[in-house]
């Protein structure tokens, strides 16, 4: 683990940083308005004219995005004290972060207090001590995201615009009034001022009125964390340093939740309260011991050697419980927030308890490194590490993984024969490296083990006194051969600087082969009849080029700079375990089937589905390519329809400084990746992205490019390339303008340095993707799949930076 720690430097310094950020939702997909919604569902014949006449005032046109999101504020204050000398250093800081997220009201907040104390001291000629510590306390509330069933982001897209966000008692429609007068369905939620959150008569689904979704449950988390490391460095003889270092993290988190009684629609309601609470603590430590020897022979030969070991343990422990009411038991004694604690639950509420069971994970490693350089001209290094995983991760026989690495370097410009070119070429260095790395992915929980566990309780009596037999069966097929996943990387590159370091260039070519990829949750075949244990299922090859160019130029007092980087990536699955030769299914979308897949000859987790041919001019139904020419559209016609991985990612930074003014513009982008949009569904009468309906087939628009309303085969359409979009984008991540007060002025105010700045962050995005943020999609086997993840907000930042 490599941690960069802040160290005190120079004479005593006090710094204060302040940042104020205004954030709002950046990019909102366009959906149908009220009239378009009505026309669509009338066309589809899925909602009757009467229903519209009875339930719409022909005026309401709710924009749910405005209901759900608002511009919100984040504040960040940091105060730092630091000093350093040749004896040691001190760094102390405290900071406060207050963030109220973009969901309306105070439903998503994150507040954090952080303190830091880093120090080191050379207490003896042969002993240096060092300790770095950070403690923080945080409090948060959050909303649901990133699932096709319960995401606030999806709700704002899918709810109909015909329903108002709130209704008063006077203008409340019948479908809500009916609930007011009963108790069995739960309560209509309101803002407390007589404005009841609207219930749609058109859309019943898991995604509710965002205000109900926000307020029907409360979930708060608090926690603290103390982490850091303390080390002793002995220098018994010249050139030799022994280090013994202990790293640690102690944390505790508590959760508290209330599920209110509420009514959101006919399938989503509750007439009782549920309470939950949890307390978890975790401890982690890592103890490393290593010896480092380095020596210079003569003037030119410099060699060093290192050997060491490391052991780490993390332990988790927690308890959680809940009290939940039922249809004829409210759950708590009074419907009052002061009673929403376990002590005031009804005696008949259903109780549940879990936890009270510690879990451990431990790791052991030995490592060593040899390096040599000749006058900074020729460099060579060799290292080897051996890692062992504990028995909850890998079978004992395969617990060890051995990972060597080697690298060579040649600083050509250090050669005598290069002296003549020095004027133009400041530095030129060639590098080559090869190495292996190990990963155990997310393994744990004895997933390789073929063990017997309970499958439930089976009653042996019909009623009354319960007799049960607990069923026991193997949890999975087991895999004794599970081992480390290894990635082997070969890299060759060069670094160059020209024209008095004003132009720099770095080029790298790499080839990375991931072997024995660990895949969990796979099904080799359903006739096996049991879940499969994780397997080392395949090899992936990645290769690419990374280029970075920088240029800096001073024109009078104007300093200009530009920096550009670009990386290409080619990714291909080259091998797959024979028992899985047909490929492995990844993430799925509703009940429409698997939409990502891992298969030889394709990019890892490519998008898998039908190829949309167009709309049948006569029927308005979608048509697909019959790839195997068997006359019907079936499984065998599914194919690669995209990939989440980008071919090229790039970044561009422009800087300018003139007198006290500085400007930075920084952007990133990607190209060649696709996004699988899971923002629509066809099984409920939900609102849809305009993209999918505005040019739909109708009897009068037979050239429409998207299927008619209520078309057949929409389950295939949803997993066809019609729902796959180019994920190319370029986003200006930051435009920052700063001003530093002239030194003489700030000194008069007893300040060494004063800088103010303002910045637009994540403000401009250029993309054709009709969904939310092209930069934020799923990860792992759902890379590039958009199920309504919380998008990056756009931010206006004002900042102040003062040093005393």
């Amino acid at each position: 683990m490599l941690v960069t720690t802040r160290k005190g430097k120079g004479e005593g310094k006090i710094t204060y940083d302040f940042q104020l950020t205004k954030q709002s939702i950046a990019k909102v997909p366009e959906v149908m308005n009220a009239e378009e919604f009505m026309n669509y569902y009338l066309d589809a014949g899925l909602i009757s004219k009467e229903t519209f006449y009875n339930n719409w005032d022909f005026k309401t046109n709710t924009n749910w995005v405005d209901v759900a999101f608002e511009t919100s504020t984040m504040q960040h204050h940091t105060l730092t004290f630091q000093a350093g000398s040749d004896k040691g250093s001190l760094y102390m800081s405290a900071s406060i972060l207050k963030n109220n997220g973009i969901v309306t009201g105070n439903a998503d907040i994150y507040n954090r207090l952080t303190g830091m104390l880093n120090g080191s001291w050379k207490i003896k000629e042969w002993l240096n001590v060092e300790s770095n510590n950070q403690v923080n306390y945080s409090k948060s509330k959050s909303v649901a995201e990133g699932s096709e069933y319960s995401s606030m982001l999806l709700t704002v897209l899918q709810l109909d615009p015909l329903t108002k966000a709130t209704y008063t008692l006077e203008d409340m429609p019948d479908n809500m009034r009916r609930i007011l007068n009963t108790t069995e369905y739960g309560e209509l939620l309101s803002d407390g001022n007589g404005n009841y959150y609207g219930v749609s008569p058109f859309v019943t689904m898991e995604n509710l009125n965002p205000l109900i979704m926000r307020d029907n449950a409360l979930s708060e988390n608090r926690g603290f964390n103390l982490s850091g490391s303390t080390a002793l460095n002995f220098t018994p003889i010249k050139d030799l340093v022994f280090t013994s270092r202990i790293g640690y993290s102690l944390s505790s988190s508590e959760g508290y939740g209330v599920n209110h009684d509420y009514y959101a629609n006919d399938s989503q309601h509750r007439n009782y309260v549920g309470l939950s609470a949890s307390e978890n603590s975790s401890t982690y430590y890592q103890w490393e011991n290593f010896a480092n020897w380095s020596h210079t022979f003569g003037d030119m030969h410099h060699a060093s050697a290192m050997i060491g070991s490391s052991f780490s343990e993390s332990r988790g422990y927690g308890v959680s419980g809940s009290y939940t009411g039922s249809d004829d038991d409210f759950g708590v004694k009074k419907d009052d927030p002061l009673f929403w604690y376990f002590a005031y639950a009804t005696s008949t509420a259903t109780k549940s308890l879990s936890g009270g069971e510690p879990s451990y994970s431990r790791k052991l490693a030995y490592f060593g490194r040899l390096s040599y350089d000749y006058g900074g001209r020729y460099l060579a290094q060799f290292s080897l590490r051996a890692d062992a995983a504990d028995s909850s991760v890998l079978p004992i026989d395969n617990r060890w993984g051995y990972f060597p690495a080697a690298s060579l370097g040649w600083a050509i410009t250090e050669e005598d024969f290069m002296q003549p070119t020095r004027e133009v070429l400041d530095q030129l260095k060639l590098r080559a490296s090869w190495g292996q790395n190990g990963s155990i992915a997310s393994l744990g929980g004895y997933s390789y083990a073929n063990v017997i566990a309970s499958t439930g309780n089976y009653p042996t009596t019909q009623d009354g006194d319960y007799g049960y037999i607990t069923g026991y069966a193997p949890t999975s097929t087991g895999n004794d051969e599970l081992k480390w996943e290894t990635s082997e990387q070969f890299n060759i590159g060069l670094d160059a600087r020209f024209l008095s370091n004003s132009l720099s260039l770095t080029i790298d070519y790499y080839k990375k082969k991931t072997k024995d990829l660990i895949v969990t949750g796979i099904t080799p075949s359903t006739v096996v009849g049991n879940a499969s244990s994780p397997v080392n299922a395949g090899d992936i090859e990645n290769s690419g080029v990374e280029i970075e160019i920088g240029y800096q130029k001073m024109i009078g007092e104007l300093m200009l700079g530009a920096r550009a980087n670009m990386a290409t990536l080619k990714n291909k699955v080259t091998y797959i375990h024979p028992s899985l030769k047909e490929g492995i299914g990844g993430t799925s979308f509703h009940t429409y089937g698997t939409i990502t897949r891992f298969e030889v000859g394709h990019p890892a987790w490519y998008f898998y589905g039908y190829k949309f041919k167009g709309v049948n001019k006569e029927t308005g139904n979608p048509e697909f390519y019959d790839l195997n020419n068997d006359g019907t559209i079936g499984t065998e016609d599914k194919t690669e329809i995209g990939k989440g991985m980008a071919d090229v990612t790039y970044g561009l930074t422009l800087t300018a400084a003139w007198k006290g003014i500085d400007l930075i513009v920084f952007g990133t982008g990607s190209a060649g990746n696709d996004i699988f949009s899971c923002l629509n569904r066809s099984d409920y009468n939900v609102n849809k992205l305009t993209e999918f309906v505005e040019n739909r087939w109708t009897p009068t628009n037979t050239n429409g490019t998207t299927p008619r309303a209520g078309a057949n085969d929409m389950d295939k359409y949803m997993i066809s390339d019609a729902c796959v979009f180019s994920g190319n984008y370029f986003k200006i991540k930051q435009i920052q303008l700063g001003y530093t007060l002239p030194h003489d002025i700030s000194l008069k105010a007893k300040m060494e340095n004063v800088r103010i700045y303002c910045s637009l962050d994540d403000f401009f995005t250029f993309t054709k993707y009709p969904g939310f943020d092209p930069e934020v999609t799923g990860v792992g086997n759902s890379l590039g799949v958009d199920k309504g993840s919380y998008p990056n907000s756009k931010k206006v930042v004002f900042g102040l930076n003062v040093t005393f």
Binding site: D327, S579, G710
Partner: protein
Amino acid sequence: MKRTLIYSLMAGAMAMGFSGCTDELEISQHGVLNYETYYQTDEDAQAAAAAIYLQMRGLAYNYLIAKNCLTDDFYAAGGGRNDNADFEQLNEFTFTPNQNLLQGMFESYYQIIYKANVVLGHVGEDSETKLRCRAEARVFRAFANFELTTLWGNPPVVDHELNSSEYSRPNGSTEELWALIESDLKEAIESGALKSKTSVNDKDTWQVTKEFAEALLGKAYLWQGKNAEAAAEFEKVIGSGLYDLYSDYENVIQVSAKNNCESLFETVRVYDKENVFDNWDFCGAMLRWRLDKMEMTDEFKAVFGTSQNYGFLAPTKDLYDAFVAEEGKNGYRLNATMKTYDQMRNIGMSLIVGQSIINEGYFMWKWRSGIDSCPSEGYGFCYTNNFRWMRLAEVYLLAAEANLAAGNQTKCDEYMNKVRTRAQVATKSGYTLADIQNEKRLELCGESVRFQDLLRWGLAYDKLKDNGARCPQLQSNGEVTYVTYNNDVNLYGFKKGKHEHLPYPETEIELNSAIEQNPGW
């Protein structure tokens, strides 16, 4: 001196860092047992068998909904068009190999087979209990293979726990599968280890019995056209004297009549307030009437509750008419099986004005479930009624058919009349196959047998070719209108050369290169 001190300190630190750590990497797993050493005791054997019962119980949802959707007796129904489009696809024969219920059913059968294979592969034969568990495993394996064979035709044969080199299983041959079904059932029966009920009123025997195995064997014979053998097996069940038709047809599959004298096998659920979610079962919620669109009287609510009612599987008028033709509008069995909308209104439930549901004017009564089988602690998602896998009426009707085919009209008439007497329908003699077919449709409607029967009788095309042609919409005033969703006659309804077998699930086709899809899919 100082140097020595430092060195020894360092040496100590290093040594501690390097030593004793691999032992720390052994962390024992909680709450599990060792696969290598389990399956030794009687208790282990029963626990392994209980896992099959649990698997079987979990199958009921897909089993009931899928098989009844695949008939002319029901509309998929639900909250509205496209509400669980999966059900509609089955009901209208527009489904593809990517069909969740069929996939779920297919996987469940193989999970039953797997768990049975675990018992047969690991449980010894050295005690009465172990022998019984082994015999039960064979019965379940035969049940699963019977279902797989009659629905899919030639599914892979899995007669032992597969190792990783055997994961790609080719199709089995139908003959091989029938042979395995017969030999499993015969061995189970002949082992003498299976239980039997102690008397006709024994409600406590919860295990699969010898008689259930015999009935399954009879069914396997009948499907293969071995009519005399089939009749002989059914005769054993009937002759055992351990079963009788339950007099109160209205409650024959109700929670109030669990394990009644007519049941050959039920999987058990109980109302246990502290462990309601041990009885999680979505099935009850899916089949309950769509009450959120209804106005109900307080009396009605007191019996049927109001939560989690999704209103799937609404009877067809065709089924209602078949009842009326046989026993008249006021027929005892008809009224015990389903109610008309008018009758429901009298009971206390009517559509809210302006609301409509997919329904042709009929509501299932036989499988109604109220708060007595749906504890409020389970939020409507728990269902405490047992699932009936077979009851004596089915055995009688199978026996009637086998005897008729084997030339024994008297026996055929006797068994038909038993069923009809309880149903309070006039008895007669000289029943034909068509009579039996009609009787079975009425007696066992909604009990998941018709689709396989229609396939076997060769009537599937005739009866199911129009499924999906139109969809009824019941208005609050009782009027039924029809909507046409499927315009192209080539795209809905039972198709010859295709629907005689269900498709192997898409996932299996994708994963298993050795399996071949059924013709037409």
